[in-house]
């Protein structure tokens, strides 16, 4: 087992554990914190995959911005008793079937992936400027998507303000 493998399993284990923490914790604040760990774990995975730029974006946007947003939201709407903030759903059926289906989907996709004849992995050209390549794509072939994403963010901001601000009384 080389270093890469050890790193992979450690990081994966951490990520999965944190993700489980998100869905299993009864305290929403704990969940949020576990979520940050998950995000960081995923960022680590990106680094492992030679996607350094993406790992940074992940840390900045997810672990940074989104998490803060979520925690703010939690503060705004939190139940007084922290241990009752993130209860499991009262419907046992939903819980049961949700779990079962999650397993089925994991198994099904897992089987599909396991049985899939993947092509031989190609070696990465080491000398390329990957960030530059992303930038080229972003402002080249994918400029429409890029602009759309910009509009999307504007829209989301405006929408979030309107929705969160609520109706002026009177």
């Amino acid at each position: 087992m080389n270093l890469n493998e050890i790193a992979f399993y450690v990081i994966s284990g951490l990520t999965i554990a944190a993700a489980l923490g998100v869905v299993l914790s009864r305290n929403i604040v704990h969940s949020a914190l576990a979520l940050i760990v998950t995000f960081l774990g995923v960022a680590m995975t990106f680094f492992e995959l030679d996607a350094g730029f993406l790992g940074l974006v992940q840390i900045l946007v997810y672990a940074g911005a989104i998490s803060v947003l979520i925690i703010f939201a939690i503060m705004l709407v939190m139940h007084p008793d922290p241990s009752r903030t993130n209860l499991t759903t009262p419907s046992r059926d939903t819980n049961f079937w949700g779990g079962l289906l999650a397993w089925i989907i994991i198994a099904a996709i897992g089987i599909a992936l396991g049985k899939n004849p993947w092509p031989i992995p190609q070696t990465i050209p080491t000398d390329t400027d990957r960030v530059g390549a992303i930038a080229n794509l972003l402002l080249g072939n994918y400029v429409v998507a890029f602009e759309a994403a910009a509009v999307l963010l504007l829209l989301a901001v405006a929408g979030a303000i309107i929705l969160a601000k609520g109706v002026e009384e009177g």
Binding site: S12, T15, V61, V77, L87, W97, G98, W118, G159, L163
Partner: protein, 102 residues
């Protein structure tokens, strides 16, 4: 050797955990968080596939960036919605939101 499938299995597991989270929780924020986990799983997929199958370009990574952007927008709108509905109902429990049914 860690191959593509390792990453894909990791992603699948995260995806499954996210799915389970959607059903296991009643707090709307927690459900948004579960969905974020699912999106992250997808991102792992894209990056790993990009790395192992088509290392020559960065389309997978680009896809992941867009997913992150969209997820950010989605979360902000989602949280705003939760706040908006909390203001009316004083609750963020999804099972309270059933004015419309049948």
């Amino acid at each position: 050797m860690i191959g593509l499938n390792h990453y894909l299995f990791l992603a699948t597991l995260l995806f499954g955990i996210g799915i389970y989270g959607v059903f296991a929780k009643r707090n709307a924020v927690a459900i948004l968080m579960s969905i974020e986990i699912m999106l992250n799983a997808v991102n792992i997929n894209f990056v790993a596939i990009n790395r192992f199958i088509q290392p020559a370009d960065t389309v997978g990574q680009l896809f992941a960036i867009f997913v992150i952007v969209v997820a950010a927008a989605e979360v902000s709108v989602g949280l705003a919605l939760i706040i908006s509905i909390y203001r009316q109902r004083k609750s963020v429990n999804l099972d309270d939101f059933n004015l419309m049914k049948w």
